[in-house]
Symmetry: C2
């Protein structure tokens, strides 16, 4: 929250308690995003009074700026209290933000709201909701400027001017034929610069960068970022334009995808809501399954430890190095995995590069393992019990092997997951560490056996 | 790279080998970002021939789209081969992209290039380079539309039309007084919709969202994302407008910051270049220091293991559970850390929330620890040697304590780092795992001692 908004908060809360109708005087100068900050910071019942006392347009703009979780909660209460006004607010919202809101509502609330909304808006919502979450179609808005190819620039500017207030953006307009097939794109910049009597077909850019509605939202983000676009048109299979995705929505997608990556990397299923908005039991559900899976996979380490302990009864100082050795494999693996997950996310590396990547990481693991092995030898030399050739050889040899192996699985697993069509970030750091614990112990057992013979 | 560009690559390479001057015919329809893909995919000498044979404007647009690392390398060779044309290309580039390029050049090359460039452009570069990397000033471009408050809308549209070709964006224009002080913002949308004889002062939005040049680029990204801006004006302390940052540059910042988070989380110092562009030795430098630090910190585990092994000589099956137990602390800690790092990055949690966060995470750790403890007891019950009350009690008690402790440091450390003004992502997953290894072993030693007495 901006500091100026924070300073306003007590006054707004006070006004809502004493004279709710007066609150819009306090907030009319605020940006909708700041109003949303206020609504999020107010107690639930005051936030409800707040939205109920704003003019419909302000309430709609504010709702568009609210976090999705908060938006759904607040709107559910709002609709129960003032169904008429809530439906008006929903109708006034941008189609994409409205669809996001409605998709989050409970089944019966959703039906009741759609029944109260005007026909065209309700139909639009149903159409947008028909696209699965995470696709280009689910991200788009249906408000865009469509022009005819044979129009003059002057007529087009008139069209743009008339429709400006309803449109998400007027900075890119799309030339279409009578069937709605996308013919070209014209920026408002080009319209303003062009002579008034030229035809749209003469100034439009024909090969429009566009994407089909069922493509992944990450691909939308990639194209908008790569080509520095303000808006990307979404088309169906017959190249009819269905809507557009604007750059500001893509900023949210990029942030969301980055958050998911970081959470998956830490072995947490991505959260839907903000940290403090997420309930305790929800956290347990997102965290416990991974912890249990990793824990049960770790059962193998107890068997390996038992084998080592039994086999080398005469040389128990070997056991002292177990946590150190297995951790170094996990650490090297985490490094490789995080490098690879990022490189895959931004498209620097493709699954088909696997030979080149794994070759490189194996060499890297060897180099890093040999560096660590010097430190390991130093540690072993510090104690009388471990300053023996067999122990030092077993420790050093295992470190090199474990670090190399860690780098190999750390880089290979994300590539494999991507190839299987899964999110590479599922190969979380804890997952790689656990895998490398098991393998590390098996390597230790075998290397030690080699030197003890 | 898009598939169409990939298909074109062999033809372009062939043309560059046989008849370099003909290459621009092949590529003239391409978007600059696709030309940049071609240049990045070509061998170094062919890429040089390519840029040298493009028209100056195409070469400039292409250079703006190249990765910074590639841009600097290619341009260094280009300037050595054709200094005159290279200086022309640099002059034609957008000021912000040009400054990024020049800041990457070797000292002597930079001086030689600036000497060849036109005075105003060279001065502009020096001004932009005076802002430290990572600040708003270093991100901005100095090309923006400035209007006078007393101008009419018609005159303003004429101004915009005339300057359109040089400007990064004409969609937001800024009203300034004769000293350059920022008075208001007018979107091209507002200009197009407004009556021709109105004054700019009547239609501008006065309270402009802006930021001072020495602020962090993350704050720039936050404001642009929050307020859905196309461009954010950068001002000095006296509120004179220095430049603007556009949303497409912010998309890059957000991606860059997310990449840094993921790499730090994996205990790798952030890379400057793409994965395959980074040299082997560079990787060793980015990875070895963290591995060595973590390894030496892990020396403490060898001492703890020695103490456990010596102390419980009569009950060595206790040792079999060591890797399992310490891993569960690390895993829970990684989860908490990744949740916290994300929540801090998007501003959901502030360092001042530490009591609330740590209280919540401790409860979470207790709940998760008790779940895992059931599985741990099951594992211990499976072997005759470990199906004893002391072993099972020591294993279960330690798991609960270690998981709780892991969640506590996993959440507390990022908060502490942020409070100290450091990047919370430095508390990487491997770092937390290593810390929890050491503490886990000490807890195990003490809990076991308690039950063995």
């Amino acid at each position: 929250m901006e500091n100026t908004t924070r300073l306003l908060l007590p006054d707004v809360a006070e006004a809502l308690r004493r004279d709710p109708a007066s609150v819009s005087e306090l907030t009319e100068e605020l940006h909708p995003a700041d109003m949303a900050d206020l609504a999020a910071a107010l107690e639930d019942d005051l936030a409800l009074t707040f939205v109920d006392n704003l003019p419909v347009t302000d309430a709609a703009r504010m709702a568009e700026s609210l976090d999705l979780g908060k938006r759904v909660t607040l709107f559910s209460h709002f609709f129960s209290k003032s169904p008429e006004k809530a439906a008006d607010v929903a109708e006034t919202m941008a189609p994409d933000e409205r669809a996001d809101l409605i998709s989050g509502l409970e089944e019966d609330l959703r039906a009741a709201l759609l029944a109260r909304m005007a026909q065209p808006e309700a139909r639009e919502v149903r159409q947008l909701l028909s696209f699965p979450e995470g696709t280009a179609g689910a991200l788009m808005t249906t408000q865009f400027v469509a022009l005819k190819a044979e129009q003059t620039v002057a007529a087009a500017i008139d069209d743009v001017r008339r429709s400006a207030s309803e449109m998400e953006t007027i900075y890119d307009a799309y030339a279409v034929d009578p069937n709605g097939t996308l013919l070209g794109v014209v920026s408002l910049r080009d319209l303003v610069v062009a002579k008034a009597d030229r035809r749209i077909s003469e100034i439009m850019v024909p090969n429009v960068i566009s994407i089909e509605a069922d493509q992944d939202q990450e691909e939308v983000a990639r194209l908008i970022a790569k080509y520095d676009l303000f808006a990307l048109p979404i088309v169906d299979r017959s190249y009819q334009i269905l809507g557009i995705v604007t750059v500001d929505d893509v900023v949210d997608v990029i942030k969301e995808e980055a958050a998911e990556d970081v959470q998956r990397l830490g072995a947490v299923e991505p959260l839907e809501d903000a940290y403090f908005q997420t309930r305790f039991i929800e956290f347990v559900k997102k965290r416990a399954p991974w912890l249990i899976i990793l824990f049960c996979a770790g059962f193998l380490t107890t068997s390996a430890m038992r084998a080592i302990e039994t086999r080398f009864e005469h040389l128990r100082p070997l056991l002292w190095f177990v946590p150190l050795i297995i951790a170094s494999g996990g650490n090297a693996g985490s490094q490789s995995a995080s490098l690879m997950i990022r490189a895959l996310a931004v498209g620097e590396v493709k699954p088909s590069d696997y030979l080149r990547v794994i070759g490189r990481e194996v060499l890297m693991g060897l180099a890093l393992g040999m560096i660590l092995c010097l430190f390991g030898a130093g540690r072993a030399a510090a104690w009388g019990e471990t300053r023996t050739l067999p122990v030092m050889a077993a420790v050093c040899g295992t470190i090199v092997a474990v670090v190399t192996f860690g780098a190999m699985i750390g880089s290979g697993l994300p590539l494999l997951l991507r190839r299987l069509g899964l999110d590479p970030a599922v190969s979380s750091t804890p997952f790689i560490a656990s895998l490398s614990d098991v393998i590390g112990l098996l390597i230790y057992l075998n290397v030690a056996a080699m030197f003890m013979l």
